[in-house]
């Protein structure tokens, strides 16, 4: 009975969030003639690709009932390292892999702290958020790394495959992989089981420690990948990149139907959530609305989504 209710709710949420995105697109198209153009839509997709890339892994982590505040800092350190490695003569593909691996290692550290040492996830990742950002500032000495990067450095973030930006193509592939993980693999199923009831999951024979650590490594890896892509898009390694990024991702995941208590959420919903936030920002920018108001709108949309979730929850239960 409860499973049916959760399924009904998830289905209703999906329709609702897609409906909200459609209404938003229609309103923005009417209000801003320049909104619905190929260039602008690809811009928004490119701008949201970092959120979607990290959001894919963060969604699974939040479904399992955990949290990661360090993704913005991982983004910064991986981005700056990818630039530094290139300036030190490392071939570009290798520097990309190495900097992403640094993200994975930080993810492993987070997993160790949360899963093995039982430090609450918010506290553990808050700690790594500060330390990792600090290390990024230290290794760059506060400067932006842009000399000696070569022309190919910007290909990952700014290149095209035919008419499609490479970053959008990669994001689509990553989305499909994580969509598959969520629906067709044990890791996806275990994430829901652990988030739904950790004790029951443990008693059912699920190795909750291994799953937890794998999820944190995935988050670190994807945050590192986002940072590498962002550094390439900007053409610099800068320790300031990704300030507040963790909140952008959480907003997208929550808008997509994830519950902060775990056990609920979907990668498809997160993508729609990220697009809603991206299109709101882009549309308001095109209309010349001051960024201060944009933050107000973002906050209202987030709280509105959570309130709607609560209303739906109580109706389905009642």
């Amino acid at each position: 009975m409860k499973v049916q209710r959760v399924k009904d709710k998830t289905k209703l949420q999906k329709y609702m969030i897609v409906g909200v995105l459609l209404v938003l697109l229609i309103v923005l198209t009417i209000l801003t003639p320049e909104f619905l153009t190929y260039n602008n839509i690809t811009n928004v997709l490119r701008q949201t690709s970092a959120v979607i890339l990290a959001g894919c892994a963060v969604t699974l982590l939040m479904i399992s009932g955990n949290f990661d505040l360090s993704i913005g800092s991982i983004m910064a350190i991986s981005g700056t390292l990818s630039a530094i490695f290139v300036t030190k003569g490392m071939p570009l593909p290798l520097s990309i892999v190495a900097s992403i691996l640094v993200g994975s290692l930080i993810g492993l550290l987070n997993g160790f702290l949360v899963v093995v040492m039982k430090v609450p996830s918010i506290i553990a990742t808050l700690g790594t958020m500060y330390s990792v950002r600090g290390v990024a500032w230290v290794i760059t000495e506060g400067a932006s790394i842009h000399l000696g990067l070569g022309k190919n450095f910007t290909y990952l973030g700014r290149g095209f495959i035919g008419p499609i930006p490479l970053s959008i193509f990669i994001t689509a592939v990553v989305f499909l992989i994580f969509f598959f993980i969520q629906h067709k693999t044990l890791l996806g199923k275990y994430s829901y089981a652990i988030g739904g009831n950790q004790r029951t999951a443990l008693l059912s024979g699920i190795n909750i420690y291994r799953v937890g650590i794998i999820l944190y490594i995935l988050v670190g890896t994807m945050a590192g990948f986002s940072g590498t892509m962002m550094a390439s898009r900007l053409g610099v390694g800068n320790a300031n990149i990704g300030q507040g990024f963790e909140f952008d991702v959480v907003v997208a995941v929550v808008l997509g139907g994830a519950s902060l208590d775990g056990g609920e959420g979907s990668i498809f919903g997160m993508v729609i959530g990220a697009l809603i936030v991206g299109f709101i920002g882009n549309g308001l920018n095109l209309m010349g609305v001051h960024s201060f108001y944009q933050d107000v709108v973002k906050g209202i949309v987030l709280v509105g989504a959570v309130l709607l979730d609560r209303v739906m929850q109580s109706r389905l239960e009642g």
Binding site: P33, R158, L234
Partner: protein, 346 residues
């Protein structure tokens, strides 16, 4: 039901596109200028935006200001939005010059001219700039503060703390290091005991508390913008310092760059030890940016021109400037009508 909803959504979407296209065709073609700011949380940047909006309104040009939020990624996204919007020209001030230059190049490739405010072309990407000539003003302010120090603290060791973010190279070099050069010319034995902080009042307050904890004898404080100067001064005030009697500082001298209203009010008040501010000129800068961009749009200057940069000179406001002169400056440059005597309770 699902198919019906999808059909209706597509129908509405298509009709909205047609409606929007119609609106575009019938609408009157007006020039549109976009601007990407360094960060609109800052009082100078807000005044610059206000002055640009007023000037463009006078000229009958539409204006799209965007907040760079002191983030390279936010600035890049804003530039992309303006390019996609197909504006006729862009004015920008880079937080990170290297990443901004990639966006400038993208705009130029789309046929959109860009005029930079402050940042000068590094050579790889070429564009015209409105420069603020801050360095001579900052050196002059350093000398002024040095003289005030010698007059008021004879025989004492000058210990200066600078609240300045070294990662923002242009500001740190043109303001902080230039100020220190001027100060050193007058007081060669000066001791630079600290540099740190961001462009953030809260952070500056915290930094100043730490500086006082480290060395209570700090007697010159410099903030490289209003946020840093005022944040540092607030910490001094909270510690019972920052006081002057009839314009004579008791424990230290404070100076900063920007010339915003709160800074000017502090400088004008003979009971504070805030002695000088290097005044930027938002109205003059805003007009210079627009005029230069219009020259490019009208074909008088090439969008790749780097040899015709415009320089707007900043100047020092200190105790020697009369209240009437200061009020006139604020009206002319910041569009603020203020009764300074009333505001500071003289």
């Amino acid at each position: 039901m699902k198919k019906f909803i999808v059909f209706i959504s597509i129908l509405v979407l298509v009709s909205s596109v047609v409606f929007a296209a119609g609106a575009r065709e019938t609408g009157e073609k007006k020039l549109v200028i976009g601007q990407v700011f360094w960060g609109l949380h800052d009082s100078y940047q807000q005044a610059h935006q206000k002055a640009t909006a007023a000037y463009l309104k006078e000229l009958g040009i539409n204006y799209l200001p965007m907040d760079g939020q002191m983030k390279p990624e936010a600035q890049t996204a804003a530039m992309e939005d303006l390019i996609a919007r197909g504006v006729d020209g862009i004015i920008c001030q880079a937080y990170d010059q290297a990443s901004m230059e990639i966006s400038i190049k993208a705009a130029q490739e789309a046929g959109i001219p860009v005029v930079s405010f402050v940042n000068i072309s590094s050579g790889d990407v070429k564009y015209p700039t409105v420069e603020i000539s801050e360095e001579p003003g900052a050196v002059a302010m350093g000398k002024t503060i040095g003289k005030i120090f010698l007059e008021n603290f004879p025989g004492k060791q000058l210990k200066v703390a600078t609240i300045s973010d070294a990662s923002v190279e242009w500001a740190h070099n043109q303001r902080t290091l230039a100020f220190l050069r001027g100060l050193k010319e007058v007081v060669p034995t000066m001791d630079h005991i600290f540099n740190g902080g961001k462009s953030n009042r809260e952070e500056a307050y915290r930094v100043m508390e730490d500086v006082m904890q480290r060395d209570r004898n700090v007697n010159v404080v410099f903030g490289y913008d209003a946020e840093n100067g005022l944040g540092g001064y607030a910490a001094l005030e909270a510690a019972g310092r920052g006081v002057a009697i009839d314009g004579k500082p008791l424990t230290e001298i404070v100076a900063s760059v920007d010339g915003s209203t709160p800074e000017i009010l502090k400088v004008a008040d003979p009971r504070t030890s805030y002695m000088a501010t290097l005044a930027l000129r938002p109205r003059e800068n805003a007009r210079a940016c627009v005029d230069l961009l219009l020259d490019v749009i009208n074909g008088k200057t090439s969008m790749y021109e780097t040899g015709k940069n415009v320089q707007v000179v900043s100047f020092v406001i200190d105790g020697n400037m009369s209240i009437a002169e200061t009020e006139k400056f604020m009206k002319d440059e910041w569009d603020i009508t203020i009764d300074i005597r009333k505001e500071i309770g003289l």
